[in-house]
């Protein structure tokens, strides 16, 4: 979601993966001390594991941190070398899926003309550029990716590029961040202890009612009262987690609902399509959630 005030995007823009950085501050409301923790971890080059349910703001948090972290860079200007502070860190985000292999991350040879050409994968690029590399939902990826993660996450901070017989030392600023939703993955898809214990873990949960209302209000442009009601409703619906619902209504869904309401859709209807129907297919639970919504919205 982007802020409502932003200029319309009429043309596409493209970046090299490792050069993408935020020009404006991503909207994020800290709930606890997660900003300080992350900054401290980054300063100490300790990789970070973000735990939390879907749609509670993990990705946005990484974006926010990438924007706010900076490091010294050497800039040549008029023949003189100057050390300056970068405004933000580049951020490489990889959404992991079950067929994601190590070579998808590191890179591969491609045929070009008469010869093969090596193409760096996103992780390699992040290591070289000193970017934050965010592996979203890392448990989904193939197990061979852990081979890459391990040497990168300890004191060595190296990436073995097997096919080129190279070792890459990560540039300052590089930080591996992975996310993990302990809720919905099956027991089979748990992170191995040897992997888990290479990260400091920051736990996320849905923000408290007032903060969530503020976020919904900001992101959807809704009035404060309706936003607060949405947040209250979400709080109630989350009580059903593990009681029919595998996940509570995410902040993201609330923002969707809020945006629809702002467009003039009746609140009950907006909540139905944005929340009830996305949450579950079970008719009984749908009905219960709808009753909760009907109690909160007139």
């Amino acid at each position: 979601m982007t802020s409502q005030t932003e200029a319309p995007i009429t043309e596409y823009r493209s970046w090299a993966v490792e050069e993408f950085r935020f020009q404006e501050e991503p909207y994020y409301v800290p709930v606890g001390d997660e900003v300080e923790l992350f900054r401290a971890a980054w300063n100490s080059k300790i990789p970070v594991l973000l735990k939390g349910p879907t749609g509670c703001g993990k990705t946005r948090f990484v974006e926010y941190m990438a924007f706010h972290l900076n490091r010294p860079v050497v800039v040549s200007r008029d023949g003189r070398k100057e050390i300056m502070q970068e405004s933000s860190l580049p951020l490489v985000t990889v959404a992991c899926h079950e067929d994601l292999t190590a070579s998808d991350l590191v890179g591969r040879y491609l045929l070009e003309g008469q010869e093969t050409v090596w193409i760096d994968g996103p992780l390699t690029r992040a290591v070289k550029a000193g970017a934050i590399c965010y592996l979203d939902e890392v448990v989904e990826a193939r197990k061979d990716t852990t081979v890459l993660i391990h040497p990168l996450t300890d004191h060595r901070r190296i990436l073995p590029v097997e096919k080129k017989s190279q070792l890459l030392q990560a540039r300052d600023g590089f930080l591996l961040v992975i996310s993990f939703n302990p809720g919905y993955q099956s027991a089979l898809k748990d992170l191995k202890q040897s992997t888990r214990q290479r990260f400091v873990a920051i736990e996320f949960d849905y923000p408290p009612r007032e903060i969530e209302a503020e976020i919904v209000q900001h992101e959807s442009g809704l009035d404060a009262e309706t936003a607060l009601r949405l947040a209250k409703m979400a709080e109630k619906v989350r009580h059903l987690r593990e009681h029919g619902l595998s996940e509570g209504a995410s902040t993201r869904l609330l923002i969707y609902a809020g945006s629809l309401i702002r467009q003039g859709i009746a609140p009950r209807r907006a909540c139905q399509i944005a929340i009830v129907w996305s949450l579950t297919d079970d008719a009984e639970i749908q009905r219960s959630v709808e009753e909760v919504i009907a109690s909160i919205f007139e």
Partner: protein, 1088 residues
């Protein structure tokens, strides 16, 4: 013939020679005849002229001459003639006598009975009807001795019958009796004997219809006739008098269609009508008549079901329900009958749709989730009687309430004619109770400061000494003398607080809420009739219900009510906590306790201003000031009258029962709701004291006389709950919804003996619909036997085990499979690259699919095995020659025989002569061993049972249960039990497999024959029904993403399996002994 020993001198006035001749002729008969004749003559001489007398005498002689015994009839004729003549004019008298003579021609006894009954019967007849009457009796005579006696009986009972029934209608009775006589004279005679009494019980208008239907019963179900005679008056009396004839006619037509069942249906339908309101009988019967052309049974079933249906839908909707059923009936008679029998899911669904009432059973889960969402706690939603049954202080069956862990609601809401409105009542009930939980009504802390008021409770002196209070609530209430008053006031204030918060937090329920509030206000008792103190409390209730405009108060003591109203208004406006409620209640108490409870004259009541505007000003006033006690001057005006005992205000329905003191104690007993979280031990003495002093605890009426007994009963119940033997937050009945709750413990040290019950529908192919909740399935974990069996089987089949294991290992997928010729992938496929370069060099077109990737393949299979444990699996496979060569080994010595027999049994037990079940077990052992090596998820279940309410489902290994010695032991215990009702067992297995998240789910049913069970079909021999239900269960499996497979060892299996499985997989194992080898092979094939 000998002369009479006594001399008979002819009367002086009877010298007629003709008469004398007759007399002479009569003298040849036994003397009593002549004697009667002479006596009659004397009487008749004065009344009849000579000719008539002669004719009369002639008639007598004619009768007497008919046959040997006819003189008896003639003598009766003589005896009654005078009496008859009193009733009949001469012309008719002769006709009467003629009929008698005719009867005598058939049977003298009959004629005698006719004459004998005449004096008493004739008064009920018109003079001309006598011959008709005689004819009716004659109708029954068929020339036999028995029929004669029956016909005579008819004349005997005629006077009694004719007094009830006009002659035209007695014909009906005669026909009925005649019909019965065709089957049994004893029965006919018994019924005839009863008939007068039966008719007497009936209303005059009902008699003919009852007899008409009776004739039909006699013809269609003669054996029921006596039953009919005995029960019909009672049955028909309960039907609307206007409709009885119509109902009987309908029953008659049905009986003609359905034969023997007609009579029981009539009784059932009459009983059903008795349950319904008289006013609807006509309507119900008219609707039933519409069904008659299609199916007589359906018409009767409709009447039978109508009271149950009417209890749930309106009268208009009954017709709608009927129309739906009629439509089904037109397509299929069996379907329609099942519909009206309320045995089809469709029928139930239609009622649900039409009915405006809402039943808790149907919405409990919805409301439970709703309340869980609101409170965030695990609240059960239960019917109110569940709480009353616990006997811990609640008795109401209608007021919603909560005891801290569950919300109790009435079983049915049918206030409105609209389902949505009725549901909204449930919702308000539930929201209010959930509000008490969510907003801490039961978490009052004595020491926690209030937010709106000063904490005056801290400084108030307790009203009584005694044990220190158990709970904070009790400690608060202990501050007051009048416990009932403070409890009432606290309830009003706290309910006001909860309602205020709810309306703010959940504006969506506001509309429904206000609707109930308005309804509650209308129902309030009139204020004028109340003593002043009660009126003050009542006014507070009204204010709390937003009905400030209905507040009334005597103006001369206006000052007394002003402040209390203001205090309550403060709760309504502010953001109050439960401690604020307590403080407000404390202040209200101080005011209201000072108002004497005296009665005032009605004229003094005027509307009082609700405290709208003053409130805002009041908030600036320092707290505490407003609650100085009431001005002495105003109370003085009320003194001098005698105060009455204080009565609590009427409860407000939608708020329900509120018992904070009790709930706090219950919560504390369980260690919940305490800040410390430690359950505080409560002694029975403490409990007893609380129960005795609390104003909240109600007892059921039958305890009324014996308060001590009631207290101790409740004490027992509480102590029992405290001991944890009864866990109140348990939700009985929830599991009975048919949903599966897994609750086995893999350790299986103590086996749950108590089976879990599940209910399943059954498919009725004739009705083309499900019979809802038709089968009860009981799930048990099979007890463990010896582990030896398992190991023994393994060692016995060592070779086979090796073989299957090897084959299964081949099944194990390679972890990764290389997929070549991809446009993109992990690596170049070197072969493809070489070829590509060669082709390029050769100038040939090139293929750019040069990559390969390794795809991981996971085997993701869950399988459930369902074993037939029916009695037929007990059959041995090779029937041995019973008497072989070793017959001679014992010669008539029983001991030797038993030794031989025991040896034989022992041999058989260990030898290849196995029963089907043994082979099933062997196969399971081998399969288990193989499955363990391959890592598939699997469950093993057995099923059997008898009848639809007792389908047994044995868990040998649940899907998630890890393999262990315990399971090996259970396999040993697989034994033949009873019948084979496959449908519910399959449905239960589906539920279990559905829980597994595997991609491939398979259900293998292993049986030894066709499904059959008691009541699994119309009769014992019918096979269709069971096969169709099983087929439907298998289809359901497929619908749920479970692949079913049937395996049978029944050689005749092909014919029904083909029908049962149609496009599904099945196999008949012709060589039963090969089952252990076959099953693993089959499994391999299924899952490859």
């Amino acid at each position: 013939m000998p002369d009479s020993p006594r001399p008979h001198s002819p009367k002086p006035g009877a010298p007629e020679p003709a008469l004398a001749a007759i007399r002479e002729a009569l003298a040849t008969f036994p003397p009593p005849l002549l004697q009667e004749f002479d006596e009659a003559c004397t009487q008749l001489q004065e009344r009849l002229d000579a000719d008539a007398l002669l004719a009369w005498a002639d008639e007598g002689l004619a009768v007497a001459r008919h046959s040997l015994r006819a003189w008896e009839a003639a003598s009766v004729y003589c005896r009654v003639s005078a009496a008859v003549l009193d009733q009949l004019p001469l012309s008719h008298f002769q006709a009467w006598a003629g009929s008698g003579r005719d009867l005598a021609a058939d049977s003298p006894a009959l004629a005698a009975a006719y004459f004998r009954a005449s004096p008493t019967a004739l008064p009920h007849l018109a003079p001309a009807q006598a011959p008709d009457w005689a004819e009716q009796g004659r109708l029954l005579y068929r020339g036999t001795w028995k029929s004669g006696s029956l016909a005579a009986q008819y004349f005997d009972v005629s006077p009694a019958i004719l007094s009830q029934l006009p002659l035209g209608q007695t014909r009906l009775l005669v026909e009925l009796i005649d019909a019965l006589a065709g089957h049994s004279y004893e029965l006919a005679s018994a019924c005839l004997g009863m008939s007068a009494a039966v008719l007497g019980e009936l209303d005059r208008a009902d008699r003919a219809p009852v007899l008409e239907f009776g004739s039909i019963v006699a013809n269609t179900a003669w054996a029921d006739a006596r039953n009919y005679f005995e029960r019909s008056p009672g049955a028909i009396k309960r039907v609307d008098p206007q409709q009885r004839a119509r109902f009987l006619a309908l029953s008659g037509r049905v009986a003609l269609m359905v034969g023997r069942q007609g009579h029981p249906y009539f009784l059932d339908a009459a009983a059903a009508l008795a349950e319904a309101d008289d006013a609807v009988h006509g309507r119900v019967i008219a609707l039933a008549e519409q069904l008659l052309p299609h199916s007589g049974l359906a018409a009767m079933e409709f009447i039978k079901s109508s009271p149950a249906v009417l209890a749930r839908v309106s009268h208009d909707d009954l017709a709608r329900w009927h129309a739906q059923g009629l439509a089904i009936l037109q397509k299929s008679a069996a379907g329609g009958e099942a519909f009206f029998r309320l045995e089809s899911a469709k029928g139930e669904e239609v009622i649900q749709g039409l009915s405006s009432r809402v039943e808790l059973e149907n919405v409990a889960e919805l409301i439970r989730l709703y309340c869980r969402a609101l409170t965030g706690a695990d609240v059960a939603v239960l019917p109110l009687d569940a709480l009353a049954e616990r006997g811990v202080g609640w008795v109401s069956q209608s007021s919603p309430t909560t005891e801290g862990t569950a919300i109790y609601l009435p079983a049915v809401v049918e206030e409105h004619n609209d389902k949505a409105l009725n549901f909204s009542i449930y919702k308000v009930f539930a929201t209010h109770q959930a509000g008490r939980l969510e907003f801490d009504s039961f978490h009052f802390r004595f020491a926690r400061p209030a937010t709106l008021f000063d904490d005056r409770r801290l400084t108030r002196a307790p009203a009584r000494d005694g044990e220190p209070a158990l709970t904070d609530m009790e400690r608060f209430f202990d501050l007051f003398d009048d416990r009932r008053l403070i409890a009432d006031l606290f309830t009003i204030v706290e309910d006001t607080r909860i309602d205020t918060i709810l309306r703010r937090e959940y504006p969506g329920v506001r509309t429904a809420f206000e609707r109930l509030q308005r309804a509650a206000v209308v129902r309030r008792r009139a204020l004028e009739t109340m003593p002043v103190r009660e009126a003050a409390v009542e006014n507070l209730v009204r204010l709390s219900l937003d009905a400030g405009d209905t507040i009334q108060w005597p103006p001369e003591i206006a000052a007394l009510i002003k402040t209390p109203l203001r205090i309550l208004a403060r709760i309504r406006d502010g953001d109050a906590s439960v401690e604020d409620s307590a403080e407000a209640a404390l202040r209200l108490y101080e005011w209201i306790a000072s108002i004497p409870n005296v009665q005032l004259d009605e004229s003094q009541w005027l509307p009082a201003d609700p405290p709208e505007e003053e409130v805002t000003e009041e908030q600036d006033v320092p707290q505490g000031d407003e609650s100085l006690s009431a001005p002495a001057a105003t109370t003085a005006s009320l003194s001098g009258r005698s105060p009455q005992a204080y009565q609590s205000p009427e409860p407000v329905d939608f708020r329900g029962d509120f018992k904070p003191e009790l709930v706090q104690m219950l919560l504390q007993m369980r260690g919940e709701g305490m800040d410390e979280g430690e359950p505080v031990p409560i002694t029975p003495e403490q409990l007893k004291e609380l129960i005795e002093k609390s104003a909240e605890i109600e007892f059921t009426e039958d305890d009324d006389g014996d308060l001590d007994g009631a207290v101790s009963t409740m004490l027992d119940n509480l102590m029992e709950e405290m001991a944890g033997t009864r866990v109140p937050s348990d939700t009985p009945g929830q599991q009975l919804q048919g949903d599966y709750a897994s609750s086995h413990d893999p350790g299986d040290a103590s086996l749950p003996d108590d089976p879990q019950s599940f209910f399943y529908d059954e498919w009725d192919f004739r009705a083309n619909d499900y019979k809802p909740r038709w089968c009860r399935l009981q799930q048990r974990t099979l007890p463990g036997g010896e582990v030896d069996f398992y190991n023994h089987t393994l060692s016995e089949n060592a070779a086979l085990v090796q073989e299957t294991r090897k084959q299964f290992e081949l099944l194990r997928p390679e972890l990764f499979r290389k997929i070549k010729h991809l446009p993109d992938g992990e690596e170049f496929d070197l072969d493809a690259v070489v070829e590509w370069i060669v082709q390029r060099a050769a100038g040939a077109p090139t293929d750019s699919n040069l990559f390969y990737r390794r795809n991981k393949i996971e085997r993701d299979v869950t399988v459930g095995f369902l074993l037939d444990m029916s009695a037929s699996t007990d059959e041995e496979i090779h029937r041995r020659k019973r008497f072989g060569a070793d017959d001679a080994a014992f010669d008539d010595d029983p001991r030797k025989y038993f030794t031989w027999w025991a040896q034989k049994r022992a041999r058989e037990a260990g030898q290849p002569s196995k029963r089907i079940i043994d082979l099933e077990k062997d196969a399971i052992v081998l399969l288990t061993e193989a499955l363990e090596s391959i890592g598939d998820m699997y469950g093993i279940y057995g099923f059997s049972g008898y009848g639809r309410d007792n389908v047994e489902f044995y868990v040998i290994k649940d899907i998630e249960e890890p393999f262990s010695d315990g399971i090996k032991k259970r396999i040993d215990k697989i034994t033949p039990v009873r019948s084979t009702r496959m449908g519910p067992a399959i449905r239960h297995a589906i539920v279990k497999l559905k829980e597994a998240r595997s991609k491939v789910r398979i259900l293998v049913v292993i049986s030894d024959g066709r499904p059959q069970d008691h009541g699994y079909g119309r009769d014992r021999t019918e096979k269709e029904y069971a096969i169709h239900d099983t087929k439907m269960a298998l289809t359901e499996a497929r619908r749920e993403g479970v692949t079913p497979f049937c395996l049978t060892v029944d050689r005749q299996g092909h014919d029904y399996l083909q029908e049962m499985c149609q496009d599904m997989g099945y196999e008949v194992v012709s060589d039963i002994a090969s089952l252990p080898r076959h099953l693993p092979a089959l499994y391999r094939r299924l899952t490859r």
